[in-house]
């Protein structure tokens, strides 16, 4: 049974701007799914519609249905969706800058049991040993990678069943990207947590997910198993850089139009 189902979701910003139209997707229990697409395609919008964070940006789901588990969550507020086991790691980290990393974790823990809290916290520090070193300083002064780790760790404190990550590798060094992808994989494997991953780094993403959706201009244009997508020539051209190494100095100025045959 799929954990998360989107049917024909349409989002309008500011009452006038149609950002995504008729997006449908599914994430199975314990599955790891990627959502790829170029800039402005509507990936973040899709995630926000799932986590219920469109309100502050004056966005609204105007059509469609979102189900998590066996119930519709469209009418729930953001915190209730988190309570239901859905968590969203926002693009651009957005940790609580004036709090220490440890307080960031405290703030995100929802339960009452101190023992459970300590257990979760230890788990986060086990995944991200670096955070433990910076435990005293304000999170706002952490480096980009550390902040990303903190954002993921903070999300884990809510004990989610499905974690949505919006561009976790943004601005991270290659080593850290590997590390973070490794940890995401580990979390998925160890805890059976479903993962919905939005990424630009398609090559690395398609290596760890089982399925992926390709979204362009607010619409899903292609979906399927990671292997299938990887072998699609268009995907290779536009997302994977053709062959492994592009000769950047000699790329063509004008390219053929994309033609998705989803």
């Amino acid at each position: 049974m799929p954990a998360l189902v989107l049917e024909n979701v349409e989002v309008i910003y500011d009452k006038v701007f149609l950002a995504i139209k008729g997006v449908s997707l599914e994430v199975g229990e314990g599955e790891m799914v990627a959502l790829l697409g170029s800039n402005g395609a509507g990936k973040s919008t899709t995630l926000k519609s799932i986590s219920g964070l469109l309100g502050p940006e004056r966005g609204l789901v105007t059509r469609g249905e979102i189900r998590f588990g066996d119930r519709s969550i469209l009418n729930l507020g953001a915190p209730e969706r988190v309570a239901g086991g859905l968590v969203h790691v926002l693009e651009g980290r957005r940790i609580f800058g004036h709090l220490t990393p440890d307080e960031n974790l405290v703030a995100a823990y929802r339960g009452r049991s101190i023992a459970r809290f300590n257990q979760l916290r230890e788990q986060v520090y086990a995944y991200f040993p670096r955070l433990k070193e910076r435990i005293k300083s304000k999170a706002g002064y952490l480096s980009g990678g550390e902040q990303q780790m903190l954002a993921i760790g903070r999300a884990l404190m809510t004990e989610p069943r499905l974690i949505m990550l919006d561009e976790p590798s943004l601005g991270l060094s290659p080593l850290l990207v590997q590390e973070i992808f490794g940890i995401i994989g580990t979390i998925n494997a160890e805890q059976g947590m479903s993962v919905l991953l939005v990424e630009q780094n398609a090559a690395a993403t398609l290596d760890i997910v089982s399925r992926a959706y390709l979204i362009e201009q607010g619409q899903v244009v292609m979906s399927g198993a990671a292997e299938v997508l990887k072998s699609n020539p268009d995907v290779q051209d536009f997302y994977l850089g053709g062959a492994e190494h592009t000769d950047y100095r000699n790329v063509k100025h004008y390219r053929r139009r994309k033609r998705w045959l989803a």
Binding site: S38, L170, L176
Partner: protein
């Protein structure tokens, strides 16, 4: 391609409270080259750039631009001496359209004053329009025409980064500093961006200092790189060689996970 040094940093030290973000970093960027600055997160790359552009003046060491000492100068002074930059977290003026943002890049050539705005005489109009011409050229160069009249905060991140680049280019800088211009882009957009940087460099004869985490881009684009770790240099030299250095691999690149 190489010539005199445009930018020379000598033994830069910068501390934040107890943290030493830069420890005696020295670097020289030559006229016309693309110089890469890489290193793990928090290694001090942005701090170095901030020191150069005047935001966090170094506590020790000197920075010279074309032979002139610039450390201690205010950012806007340094800017008018011919250093333009983009920011790691896009720093556009979100209350303005794309066009106005790019026009802002011409600021150092205009002398804004309330009286001129008030009377707005024909020569001021002509001047505005002349600048506008220049801006349109840059817009063409970076293929921003379709987004020209949009508000910057509704265009996608990739475009925003391009607008920021356009704004920097409009200042006709001697030295262009780019802080992670390709973060958050997919393959296609990266290719475009590289193309733009190369085109701009061709067209304007720029010297570029670039921070980037995409190794494929760095190796393709940069003539030389400096690798920082914990605020210290761990390697410097031609891109491929510096990146192959075992210390760099260990601290920064990591072993390829699956060699496939």
């Amino acid at each position: 391609m190489t010539g005199d040094n445009v930018l020379v940093c000598d033994n830069i030290v910068r501390r934040f409270g107890g943290v030493v973000a830069l420890k005696n970093v020295s670097v020289a960027v030559r006229q016309g080259e693309i110089f890469g600055l890489v290193g793990p997160n928090g290694s001090g790359k942005t701090t170095l750039v901030n020191a150069i552009t005047g935001f966090y003046p170094p506590q020790d060491g000197t920075i010279t631009l074309d032979g002139q000492k610039i450390n201690g100068l205010k950012p806007f002074r340094i800017a008018s001496m011919g250093v333009a930059r983009t920011f790691q977290n896009v720093a556009l003026f979100h209350g303005m359209s794309v066009l106005d943002n790019i026009l802002m890049g011409r600021h150092i050539f205009m002398k804004p004053n309330p009286l001129a705005s008030f009377l707005y005489p024909w020569w001021a109009q002509k001047e505005e329009i002349a600048h506008r011409r220049h801006v349109e050229e840059v817009i063409d160069l970076l293929q921003l025409a379709p987004a020209r009249d949009e508000h910057v905060d509704v265009i996608p991140l990739g475009l925003q980064k391009r607008v920021e680049l356009a704004r920097a280019l409009c200042a006709e800088p001697k030295l262009l500093v780019l802080d992670e211009p390709m973060a958050g882009m997919n393959q296609e957009e990266k290719e475009y961006m590289v193309r733009f940087i190369l085109d701009a460099q061709d067209a304007l004869g720029l010297t570029v200092l670039i921070i980037e985490h995409h190794m494929d881009v760095v190796t393709a684009l940069c003539d030389r790189v400096l690798v920082l770790n914990n605020g210290q240099e761990i390697a410097q030299g031609p891109a491929r060689e510096a990146i192959a250095d075992p210390r760099v691999v260990e601290a920064y690149i990591g072993k390829p996970r699956n060699a496939a």
